[in-house]
């Protein structure tokens, strides 16, 4: 297990290298650079040349990349042009809020999805099943920016149940502040969870060992939790890990709506200002997050189904 984990972690290195090359080239291929973004319409060729010289943007691309790579290997990701601060500090100090938001959203989505999927599968073809499926299909159709605004208006402004802006002062206060953003994200990903979990539960419910268990007199609680749910959970892990990219995309929008200073909103702002150093580090962090989550997903697979360990 340790060897497997170490190997998988080693495999992240070429992924990160690839991502760094692609992001490095892509951001420089888009017209406009930090000088243009900062100087706007009054930019004179002289001012632009001066800023480009200051930022080293007049060097050949390959040289800029190797400078970046060499410095990054030493833990130096450069200085943000816009923030005028160490990029590592700018980006990493925003990471906890984004991670907390994503974790909270996944937890909420699972809490929403598991009972609904169970109910839907258990009452397959009945009114409850149809109602649940329609409800979650509506959720799937709602764009994140719209559902976020509606939740903020109804639960935040009208009912005043949750705050709608900022990150709070830590602990329970932060949890309250993150509730609406996390719920917004949960609504967007839970339909996919419900759908896959429902079909998985339906399949397990029809399996022989469930029939046997039932015949042996197991209580429905034991049967459902220890046998049905446990054996149905694997698709959930797959769906969550696969949809992490989508979740990151949603986080970017949700952070804007709820004024959360996370990495997502930082990345969007940095693309507008062409803050290359921040874009590079934020992209690497997100890439690392996807790779590590996939690894965690694989490890969870083994925990859920020890037979999987034999195939490693």
């Amino acid at each position: 297990m340790i060897r497997y984990t170490s190997l998988r972690l080693l495999q992240t290195l070429p992924v990160l290298l690839g991502v760094s090359i692609v992001v490095f080239i892509l951001v420089r291929l888009i017209p406009g650079d930090p000088a243009v973004a900062a100087l706007g319409s009054r930019a004179t060729p002289q001012l632009i040349a001066r800023v480009r010289d200051q930022l080293g943007l007049d060097m050949p691309l390959w040289k800029q990349y190797f400078n970046f790579l060499g410095n990054a290997l030493r833990g130096d990701f450069g200085i943000s042009f816009f923030y005028q601060q160490d990029v590592w500090r700018v980006t990493v100090e925003r990471l906890p809020i984004t991670l907390a938001l994503m974790a909270y959203a996944v937890a909420m989505a699972v809490i929403l999805a598991v009972p609904c999927a169970f109910l839907s599968a258990a009452r397959r073809g009945q009114a409850t099943d149809h109602a649940i499926r329609i409800l979650f299909t509506i959720g799937l159709g709602m764009p994140v920016f719209w559902s976020g605004i509606i939740l903020a208006y109804v639960l935040g402004v009208k009912l005043q149940l949750f705050p709608i802006t900022g990150r709070g002062d830590g602990g329970l206060d932060t949890l309250m502040h993150l509730t609406l953003p996390a719920l917004t994200l949960a609504i967007s990903i839970s339909p996919i969870l419900v759908r896959s979990l429902r079909s998985s539960i339906t399949e397990v419910l029809a399996s022989d060992y469930v029939t046997t268990g039932r015949a042996m007199g197991l209580t429905s609680t034991t049967l459902n939790i220890s046998y049905v749910l446990r054996n149905s959970l694997r698709p959930v892990v797959t769906v969550v890990t696969i949809n992490l990219g989508y979740l990151i995309g949603g986080t970017v929008i949700v952070e804007q709506i709820f004024s959360l200073a996370g990495v997502g909103s930082l990345l969007i702002g940095s693309i507008a200002t062409r803050d290359y150093a921040v874009i590079q580090l934020a992209s690497l962090i997100f890439a690392l997050l996807v790779v590590v989550t996939n690894l965690v997903g694989d490890l969870l697979y083994i925990l859920l189904d020890p037979r999987m360990a034999l195939h490693r």
Partner: protein
């Protein structure tokens, strides 16, 4: 096996919960500056939500409105615009005299004005600040181009010497670009001077959490006794316009800027107040005259006559705009609406097009910044008008910075935007639009020496009546030659909590808070 897995599962679950909890707790310890209060802690904290952060406190390279307006709050200038926007009043200077030949002006500084650090304002600081302001290498040097030198006569007196009479001197000195700051602090800060201002304004910078907020506290040594009444002023970044409206309704913020017209009803229904500055921004279209057939005035004017300005004002701005009659906002000095302005007349547009080399029409691509639905809607309404005269306008939505690069490098055909002025004097806008030497007439490649000479004459003419004639003639020239196309003049809209009083942005839509109260 099952039992072991259960235990492992529980451990994993517990670890996840702890990690999540730890993360949440960690948030309160990490970056304390970033955890600026989400809501006012007392009734004297005013939170203003704006769509983006500022770039700098240094006017030298300032480009964005947010930076300009923030600089107006922390710094002061020798003079300021009067409340009606029609004249200038004393600020850091108590009196001034302009030499009869118009070649110099002498300013007497207000006694006893202190910077936030307690140091007295002297002529040396004014000379330092204004010498940087007039530097032609800076972004705003053009506003002061006739100024040769700024010199200290004595510690309380400053003289500005010009190379020619300079009529817009006082309005130019009222702009953010002529802000006065402490020389010792600026020099001492070195490259970080744009982040650590030292001014005499009503509010002093407490912290700037980039991308999140600018926190300011009342200046205890402010020279206007009893002001400001607000203890703390926070400019918070709220990128989403709907989120700004929601935060105002929930009481999280007290002022929202950049309010779209379609949210006014929602704001007033929720008890909010709407503050509008009429006529401070004019929809503006730049054509690249190097691209044929935009080199012909008949074509440009035909396109201009096909803009249904009334429909745009009504359907896009919900009545919070009106048909523009000049490239100048109405609040500009010497604005003249009686200069045969261009309206909506498809017959005239067809006649003009018939007299050009493309009598049957042509097609072209207009660039609109992506995400800007207002500009997109304007383009769509205009495209419908153009289709009726045989012209096809393809609309290309381009990411904002990319669009900026296309404009700066003149790789565009048509750019749909809007503009505002920073001084009420028409010299600024007429200068950048018609003086082709510094910026190729807003990158349009329009070259008209008659227009250029009129701009220069208007700048050096001290007689207001003669200036009125010059600027009236310039507005007529623009309506005849159509180097640029104006669309509608829109209100600048703010929303405030009913608790806010005396929030009065000036005629250019610029705001400061020394007179604002929070009840």
């Amino acid at each position: 096996m099952s039992g072991t897995s259960k235990k492992t599962g529980m451990i994993v679950a517990a670890a996840l919960v702890l990690a999540g909890g730890g993360l949440v707790l960690h948030l309160s310890r990490e970056n304390p500056a970033a955890t600026a209060p989400a809501a006012p802690r007392d009734n004297k904290t005013l939170i203003v939500a704006r769509p983006a952060d500022i770039f700098t406190f240094d006017a030298f390279n300032t480009q964005d409105d947010r930076s300009m307006f923030t600089q107006l709050t922390v710094f002061e200038r020798l003079v300021k615009l009067s409340a009606d926007g029609k004249s200038v009043e004393p600020e850091l200077a108590t009196e001034w005299t302009v030499a009869p030949d118009g070649m110099s002006a002498t300013f007497k500084l207000r006694e006893g004005v202190k910077f936030w650090n307690g140091n007295l304002l002297t002529a040396k600081d004014v000379v330092f600040s204004l010498t940087r302001a007039i530097d032609q290498k800076g972004s705003w040097g053009f506003l002061f181009s006739p100024i040769k030198v700024v010199e200290a006569v004595d510690p309380q007196t400053v003289r500005i010497v010009m190379s020619e009479p300079f009529a817009p001197l006082l309005p130019a000195l009222s702009t953010f670009a002529a802000s006065i700051y402490e020389e010792a602090n600026f020099v001492g800060q070195g490259a970080a001077a744009g982040e650590h201002p030292m001014g005499t304004g009503a509010f002093m910078l407490e912290s700037w959490n980039r991308g999140q907020n600018v926190v300011m506290t009342a200046n205890p040594t402010y020279w206007q006794s009893g002001k400001p009444s607000i203890g703390k002023l926070i400019f918070r970044v709220v990128g989403d316009e709907a989120a700004r409206t929601l935060q105002l309704a929930s009481g999280d913020i007290q002022v929202a800027t950049d309010v779209p017209a379609n949210q006014i009803d929602q704001i007033t229904a929720a008890g909010g107040k709407v503050v509008t500055v009429p006529g401070s921004s004019v929809g503006f279209v730049t054509m690249n005259h190097k691209v044929k057939p935009f080199d012909q005035a008949a074509v440009r004017c035909a396109l201009a006559w096909a803009v249904d300005r009334e429909s745009i004002a009504k359907s896009i701005y919900f009545g919070r705009a009106h048909a523009a009659k000049s490239i100048l906002p109405t609040s500009t000095f010497f604005y003249d609406s009686e200069t045969s302005p261009i309206g909506f007349d498809l017959k005239k547009a067809r006649e003009l097009l018939a007299s050009s080399t493309v009598p049957k029409g042509f097609s072209f691509t207009a660039t609109v910044p992506s995400g800007d639905n207002t500009k997109l809607s304007i383009a769509q309404i205009w495209a419908a008008g153009l289709a009726q005269i045989g012209v096809t306008m393809n609309i290309e939505q381009v990411e904002a910075t990319t669009a900026q690069e296309m404009y700066n490098t003149e790789k565009f055909t048509m750019r749909i935007s809007a503009w505002t002025n920073d001084t009420p004097d028409p010299d600024q806008l007429m200068g950048v639009a018609l003086d082709y030497r510094p910026q190729n007439a807003l990158h349009s490649s329009y070259r008209n020496d008659t227009a250029l000479n009129m701009v220069l004459a208007g700048r050096s003419e001290l007689d207001p009546a003669k200036r009125q004639t010059i600027y009236t003639d310039l507005q007529k020239l623009i309506n005849h030659d159509c180097p640029f196309i104006y669309t509608v003049e829109e209100d600048r809209i703010f929303a405030t909590s009913p608790r806010v009083t005396n929030f009065t942005p000036n005629s250019q839509g610029k705001y400061s808070f020394e007179n604002t109260n929070l009840n």
